[in-house]
Amino acid sequence: MEIVIAVAIGVLFGSGLWLVLRPRTFQLITGLLLMSYAVNLFIFIMGRLWVDAPPLTLGDGPPDPSAYADPLPQALVLTAIVIGFATTALYLVVMIGSRGLTGTDHVDGEEGDE
């Protein structure tokens, strides 16, 4: 299972990276989104892969750590998703503003000499 997840993250991040290096703002933001999905998944699996293990449960007596998934990466990934979502939304606004003011969707705000 590890190899499947690793390849999936790699493909996501690689596609994102390629798109980020493209000259149009739409490609750029799509690239950033793909990269942030990849990173979120990456954080998530840093607590190692667990099957059928709850992160936290209420119970009697001291818990047995080996029966639970690591809850911290799950908390981290939630925060990262929220922050990533907010900043991407903000970027979208700037992108639209740039399109309106400069009349082009090139990242330099002007067309190159193509």
Partner: protein, 548 residues
């Protein structure tokens, strides 16, 4: 010595006060401008006072070992998030408050009114910066970085025009990508060590073996990319000159501070995690920082010589100063860090003053440019800002000339101002860093580069000064308002103060640098910080109570 219980909470004030003020100002619309400005101003003054008190506490006898630890929600470290105020953090808080005060006073005349929510964004920026200085948890550092960056995106676009939005588009894209690297680095560090608390990390790093060391080193290297993008190390700093040149002057002054946040994070992490006691990972990355820093100085110096526009000139100046700091950290000698911190103080304030001054100097060239009618209309702001009519200050041209000369002397590092003292300190440390150690080729290379960057700065600034003040056709004495002159004067006077009081300042910085190079004491203070007994959260911790 015990403290009154409320004093313990002072560490939280630099984060909480701007958060509350910024939130409070959000619902008010721009017609309450005076009120908003007043709240913002009061908050900045509060931050300044808090920073001074914290500095006194860190340097005094109040805290054992001079390190104040605040356990958020009463969770013992390393389980909860700890805020730590030591000498370095207090110093940086003070620097942030001083720059904020200068930028805010400067913005009173016009800039705070050319767009909406300037004051809220300003407060949130301060919250992010202060939080990044205080926090002791890597993921929390990420959160504060994002708060700071989100506010800076808004501030950069403040006074919305085509140049700013073009620069903003690239600045935001670069920083979003850098944030992703921050997350990858954090995740890798957690995977290899199982903790994100910096003190706990420093405890666990020496015990790592085999592949975990590799994983940690990869993680820290990826994390460092995020910091190095902020501090504009070559080749990660191409965004900086364009951004600085596009930002409005008070915002540019705050951006100068933000590059230093990256350098601060590097300094703190490296000296804590990769000290000599760090086992297999000891000394990791120092050489990369040294080479990167030197390349950055070279790049900045070349940029200084090549730039025509004063805004870009200032941007490359900031890159040189960042590069010097990174090289100093990479060199890894306590005495050098002392001088480096002194250099950081002087160069940050001078650079911020220069950012503010540029706009005033530009008025000599084009008197009409002072009016921002277009932006005002674009935002449909009802209340027109006070036009710069009425009596300006007398001797405007003399002031501009003197202030410019002052900035140039500090940035280029010529006597008699603080830039010279800083460079002298750096060279002294480079030449005498051990009782019997020979001066290495690295030292010579670094000294040569610092001298070369000083030369480049003086050539570039002189060229600009001569063209502006002497060779310009008809020089009109511009009309300057007291609120525009005061902050520039204040920052430069502080630099003069730094020079005059170089002895005591160096004393404080030596203690700071000694603390940084004794990570053991720092780690103990954080990990043994007592929880408040009998309060929720305190029960969960199994840390023995220590009498205060």
């Amino acid at each position: 010595m015990s403290l009154p219980s409320w004093m313990q909470h002072l560490i939280l004030v630099p984060v909480l006060l701007p958060l509350l003020c910024g939130a409070l100002l959000l619902p008010l619309n721009e017609s309450h401008h005076r009120l908003k400005y007043g709240v913002n101003f009061a908050s900045v003054l509060g931050l300044l006072a808090t920073a001074l008190v914290l500095m006194g506490m860190a340097d005094g006898e109040q805290w054992p070992t001079g390190i104040g630890v605040y356990l958020a929600a009463n969770w013992a470290a390393p389980f909860g998030i700890a805020l730590v105020a030591d000498r370095l953090a207090a110093l940086m808080l003070l620097l942030a408050a001083v720059l904020a005060l200068a930028a805010l006073v400067y913005s009173a005349q016009r800039w705070s009114r050319v767009g909406v929510h300037f004051h809220s964004l300003f407060q949130f920026l301060l919250m992010g910066v202060n939080g990044a200085f205080l926090t002791h948890d890597l993921f929390n550092l990420f959160v504060f970085f994002e708060v700071m960056l989100a506010a800076s995106y808004g501030l950069l676009l403040h006074g919305y025009n085509t140049t700013r939005i073009r620069a903003g588009l690239q600045y935001i894209a670069v920083n979003l990508a850098a944030s992703l690297f921050f997350l990858i680095g954090t995740a890798l560090i957690y995977a290899s060590t199982g903790t994100l608390n910096m003190a706990d990390l420093a405890v666990r790093v020496p015990a790592l073996t085999g592949t975990d060391v590799v994983l940690l080193e990869v993680g820290v290297a990826v994390l460092a990319i995020a910091f190095l993008v902020k501090s504009a190390m070559w080749p990660l700093g191409f965004w900086l000159p364009t951004t600085y040149a596009a930002a409005s002057p008070p915002v540019a002054a705050m951006l100068v501070l933000m590059t230093k946040v990256g350098a601060y994070a590097i300094l703190r992490l490296w000296l804590l995690l990769f000290s000599d006691e760090a086992g297999a990972a000891a000394g990791f990355g120092y050489e990369a920082l040294l080479w990167g820093g030197m390349a950055t100085i070279l790049f900045g110096a070349a940029g200084l010589l090549a730039s025509e526009v004063p805004g870009r000139l200032a941007g490359y100046g900031a890159i040189v100063s960042s590069g010097t700091l990174l090289a100093v950290v990479g060199y890894g000698q306590p005495a050098l860090v002392t001088a480096g911190l002194y250099y950081l103080l002087g160069s940050t304030m001078a650079m911020a003053a220069f950012m503010l001054l540029i706009e005033l100097i530009e008025r000599i060239r084009s008197p009409g440019a002072a009016l921002l009618a277009v932006t005002m209309e674009a935002f449909a702001i009802e209340e027109k800002p006070d036009e710069p009519v009425g009596v300006g200050i007398p001797g405007a041209l003399a002031f501009l000339g003197l202030a410019f000369a002052g900035c140039a002397l500090i940035i280029a590092g010529l006597p008699p101002l603080s830039g010279f003292v800083a460079k002298f300190g750096l060279f002294h440390a480079l030449l005498n860093w051990g009782p019997d150690a020979a001066v290495t080729p690295y030292s010579w290379a670094l000294m040569g580069l610092i001298l070369f960057s000083g030369l480049a700065a003086i050539i570039a600034l002189m060229r600009f000064g001569v063209r502006t003040f002497w060779a310009a056709g008809a020089v009109m004495p511009p009309r300057l308002q007291p609120t525009e002159v005061l902050p520039v004067g204040l920052l430069l006077l502080l630099c003069v103060g730094l020079t005059v009081a170089a002895g005591p300042v160096f004393g404080y910085l030596e203690r700071t640098s000694a603390d940084l190079h004794r990570p053991g004491q720092y780690i103990d203070s954080v990990l043994s910080a007592p929880v408040v007994p009998g309060v929720a959260g305190g029960r969960a911790a199994n840390v023995p109570e220590v009498g205060q």
